[in-house]
């Protein structure tokens, strides 16, 4: 069994799976259940400033998008930060950290954008002996209207300023949680780094409306016939999160900034992908909210087995895919593949044919007895047939070896690397000559 012991900013946890700051980490009861189930750590649900607690809506807080068999693919929420008294949260945090010293306990914070407010809350969090803080600059709903959450996260100067306050007034490790509701994730990450952040975590939720009630024309979740945008999360957002993590990880200016990966982690495989793209650990929320804390057993066992099979340590996995994330212009245009259909696995549904014939390159033939074959002369290797086929590995992409003529282009496949930067059709390439 591979060792999953994790250390992130010096914060130790028995595994790299933390529960993200969200409803599952709002109180002692839930967090203790999570720790009993085996979770490595938690980021306690965001605390606000001293004073009357936040209020939440009293109607539905979540909306959802489902796949086949009503499998939950995406969840959005309009819940705000903790609505429990600050005192109660701090007392419980202290108690839980004392009872579970081997687990990571990070406290998420969101207070008004003034130095005094941050100074005040930091002092109180330090008293709990928590392992660190996470600055919630991400929530896109509700709090952002009050100048907090993503309202801060969307302005790099604010990120830098607040982060600096936090580092000035606290010795605790500081993670800045980034909002994806921006155009270039590197800008807020750079700002966090300038402000002295020890790490960034991403992504927070994406502004979203999950659906519209077609009887009363209210967005969902509907509160008395009205809806406000929420924050979207779950498996549907993973590709967006992976890209943003990779963008930071492969930026030389940010390469040494630790990342806590968040966004749709559902199985060990998702976690391994975040780690491979440079995350130092992962945070999970929607999967736990969908299936309960028991999924941690699959996450840890799965990651451990994978590392064993690969003969890799957790550290060796981390960042392993980062060097392979590049720009389009550097992709090898001499890499020529063709779709191949395994006739033994084919169930003859014809979806590859419909997709290719109707929407792509007319590169799949269909015989009267429903045998589907690839027409190499037409196949551009777009991969759509692979993606729409209901049977895994029935259609695969196979590389044409060097020296073979691609029947589509008539060109002999070269085993040299050749990309856009040197392609004859690229005017910039010519100009460089």
């Amino acid at each position: 069994m591979a060792d999953l012991t994790s250390e992130f900013l010096g914060i130790k946890s028995p595994n790299p799976f933390w529960l993200a700051s969200a409803p599952p980490t709002d109180k002692e009861y839930n967090v203790v259940r999570a720790f009993k189930a085996g979770w490595g750590g938690v980021v306690w649900k965001t605390l606000g400033a001293e004073g009357p607690p936040i209020v939440n809506v009293n109607g539905p807080r979540y909306g959802a998008v489902w796949g086949a068999d009503r499998r939950l693919l995406g969840l959005n929420n309009i819940e705000l930060i903790t609505d429990r008294p600050l005192e109660a949260n701090l007392r419980e945090i202290k108690q839980v950290k004392r009872d579970w010293p081997d687990r990571a306990m990070v406290v998420s914070l969101m207070v008004p954008c003034d130095e005094e407010s941050w100074k005040a809350i930091l002092k109180r969090v330090e008293d709990t002996e928590a392992d660190g803080v996470e600055l919630n600059f991400g929530c896109p709903h509700g709090m952002s209207e009050r100048g907090m959450g993503s309202a801060v996260g969307q302005v790099p100067e604010y990120i830098e300023m607040v982060t600096r306050w936090v580092k000035t007034h606290s010795r605790m490790p500081c993670i800045v949680k980034l909002t994806p509701n921006i155009t270039d994730i590197r800008k807020p990450a750079e700002a966090a780094k300038r402000g002295g952040a020890d790490a960034v975590s991403l992504i927070n939720t994406i502004s979203s409306i999950t659906s519209v009630d077609l009887d009363n024309f209210s967005p969902e979740p509907s509160i008395d016939g009205k809806g406000a945008h929420g924050g979207y999360c779950g498996p549907a957002v993973k590709p967006i999160a992976l890209n943003m993590v990779a963008e930071i990880a492969r930026d030389p200016a940010l390469a040494d900034l630790p990342i806590s990966g968040i966004g749709g982690v559902t199985t060990w495989r998702d976690a391994a992908e975040f780690l491979a793209l440079g995350a130092g650990n992962v945070q999970v929320c929607t999967a736990a909210m969908t299936y309960g804390f028991g999924i941690i057993k699959e996450l840890t066992a799965g990651l451990s087995l994978y590392l064993d099979q690969k003969g890799m340590t957790l550290e060796q996995l981390q960042g392993r895919a980062v060097p392979n994330v590049t720009d389009w212009q550097y992709l090898n245009l001499n890499y020529v593949t063709k779709a191949r259909i395994d006739q033994d696995l084919c169930i003859k549904c014809g979806r590859c044919f419909a997709a290719c014939e109707d929407t792509s390159h007319q590169a799949i033939s269909m015989s009267p007895d429903r045998v589907f074959d690839v027409i190499d002369e037409e196949c551009v290797a777009c991969n759509l047939c692979v993606n729409v086929c209901p049977v895994e590995n029935c259609i695969t992409m196979e590389r044409l070896p060097a020296g073979v003529v691609d029947p589509r282009t008539g060109d002999t496949v070269s085993d040299d690397h050749g990309d856009w930067t040197s392609h004859p059709n690229n005017p910039m390439a010519r100009a460089a000559e």
Partner: protein
């Protein structure tokens, strides 16, 4: 007290609860959750094999997608567009050999999308809305006679009425529906669905139903041709094949179709007598339905005997498995030699069949089965073809969309040669003949 072991042919072998349970819906309607789970399994195949396998070519992936998208009523309309008896077909089609047999998930997982039950879910919901989903075209002034209010006749009449023609259906029996009303196992279409469906179909308007009108007795083909612009014959098969063995005129030797019809019309199943030992001769759906229902009525021993091998039985494996599960014993490769008894049947003598130079022949080895009741289910025949019609292999010869040898006379369903004798096939033939009749009348 009467029970399954009471000798002779007696009613009331079971408790009231047993009768109710045995003859209730064999596959109850899906609830919305079940329907969504089942619908989610459909892959929306290109040029889907299930459509090809359906004699009425219902756009199955489309209607299932409409269920997925939350509009079962629209799904129902998609079904009725192709098959106005889609509700009955959802209940009685041998889907395992048609759409579900062709489903790619049958190939992939041995577990097809439950198309039949989804079809019922959709059609039941649209029918429950009341009213009728189609409007008649403006009247054409043309009149068409339809003989037989079974699946073929009803499908033909509906399609013609929809085009604006006036249709008169001549039905020999008391109730419309044909085999849907008289010939299908009760548990496949309980709660009066056959009559409900006919009423719903007639909701299109323009169709007059006349009962007690038998072709050759009350009406003649020539008479109909004189009175109407076109005629469609869909009277099914009124006769049955005889056993042709000694003693087959003994008491309690009956045609299975009569037994099934009597059961379907019985107000109180507890009053319907059934033997302790029942033997059914035949290998088709009628034999299975008679055997299974005998068992469900409380017969202690029911044996179905077919002269050839199981692979030659026209009943599907699915139906035969169902019969076996119900407790019916199935003997293959044995042919009846004699019916023994004193007045009424007491034993049936069989010989194991052997394949000889002149076809199947009785071998030397014999056995006898005790029988209080013997049901013949060895095929039905056309009962007196109307004058002037070419008959082929005992059925009305047709070409194209059901054209007979007589001008302006079409035919479809079991009375015609070609196609399997299924409700859905009859519907397709009636529907297609109507399109041809319409084209001819308006051309």
């Amino acid at each position: 007290m009467t029970s399954m072991t009471t000798p002779g042919i007696v009613p009331g072998r079971l408790s009231a609860e047993d009768y109710a349970r045995n003859f209730d819906d064999i596959y109850p309607d899906f609830d919305p959750h079940e329907a969504m789970v089942a619908a989610d399994r459909c892959y929306f195949c290109h040029d889907a094999p299930c459509i090809t396998a359906c004699p009425t070519e219902i756009d199955i992936p489309l209607f299932i997608r409409q269920i997925q998208a939350g509009q079962p009523e629209a799904a129902g309309k998609t079904i009725f567009d192709q098959n106005i008896l889609g509700g009955m077909c959802a209940r009685v089609c041998p889907t395992e050999t048609l759409c579900e047999g062709a489903c790619v998930r049958e190939m992939a997982e041995g577990q097809p999308v439950e198309i039949g039950r989804l079809q019922r879910y959709a059609t039941d919901r649209l029918m429950a809305e009341g009213g009728h989903p189609y409007a008649r075209a403006e009247g054409t002034g043309k009149r068409v006679a339809v003989v037989g209010a079974g699946p073929a006749g009803l499908a033909c009449a509906h399609a013609l009425a929809r085009e604006g023609h006036d249709v008169v259906i001549f039905e020999a029996r008391e109730k419309p529906g044909g085999l849907n009303e008289y010939g299908i196992a009760a548990y496949k279409t309980p709660h009066g669905f056959a009559q409900e469906e006919v009423e719903w179909i007639l909701g299109i308007g323009g169709i007059t139903l006349r009962h007690g009108m038998t072709l050759g007795r009350d009406i003649t083909l020539d008479g109909l041709r004189g009175e109407f612009d076109a005629v469609f014959l869909g009277m099914g098969l009124g006769g049955v094949n005889a056993l042709g063995v000694s003693g087959d005129d003994r008491g309690n030797v009956r045609d299975a179709v009569d037994f099934i019809a009597e059961l379907r019309q019985a107000g109180d199943l507890a009053a319907l007598p059934v033997g302790r030992h029942v033997v059914v001769i035949g290998g088709g759906m009628t034999a299975v339905d008679a055997a299974v229902q005998s068992k469900l009525l409380g017969a202690e021993h029911v044996t179905m005997v077919y002269r050839r091998g199981r692979e030659r039985m026209s009943a599907s494996d699915y139906e035969l498995d169902h019969a076996a599960t119900a407790g019916v014993k199935i003997i293959t490769g044995a042919m009846p030699m004699a019916v023994h008894g004193n007045g009424a049947v007491r034993e049936v003598e069989f010989a194991y069949s052997v394949e000889g130079p002149n076809g199947l022949a009785p071998g030397d080895e014999r056995f006898r089965l005790p029988a209080d009741q013997l049901f013949r289910a060895i095929g039905q025949t056309l009962d007196g073809a109307p004058e002037g019609l070419v008959v082929e292999g005992g059925k009305i010869a047709v070409e194209g969309a059901g054209k007979t040898s007589v001008p302006m006379v079409w035919a479809g369903g079991d009375c015609t040669a070609g196609g399997e004798d299924l409700t859905v096939t009859a519907v397709a033939q009636g529907r297609d003949a109507a399109a041809d009749i319409h084209a001819r009348l308006m051309g």
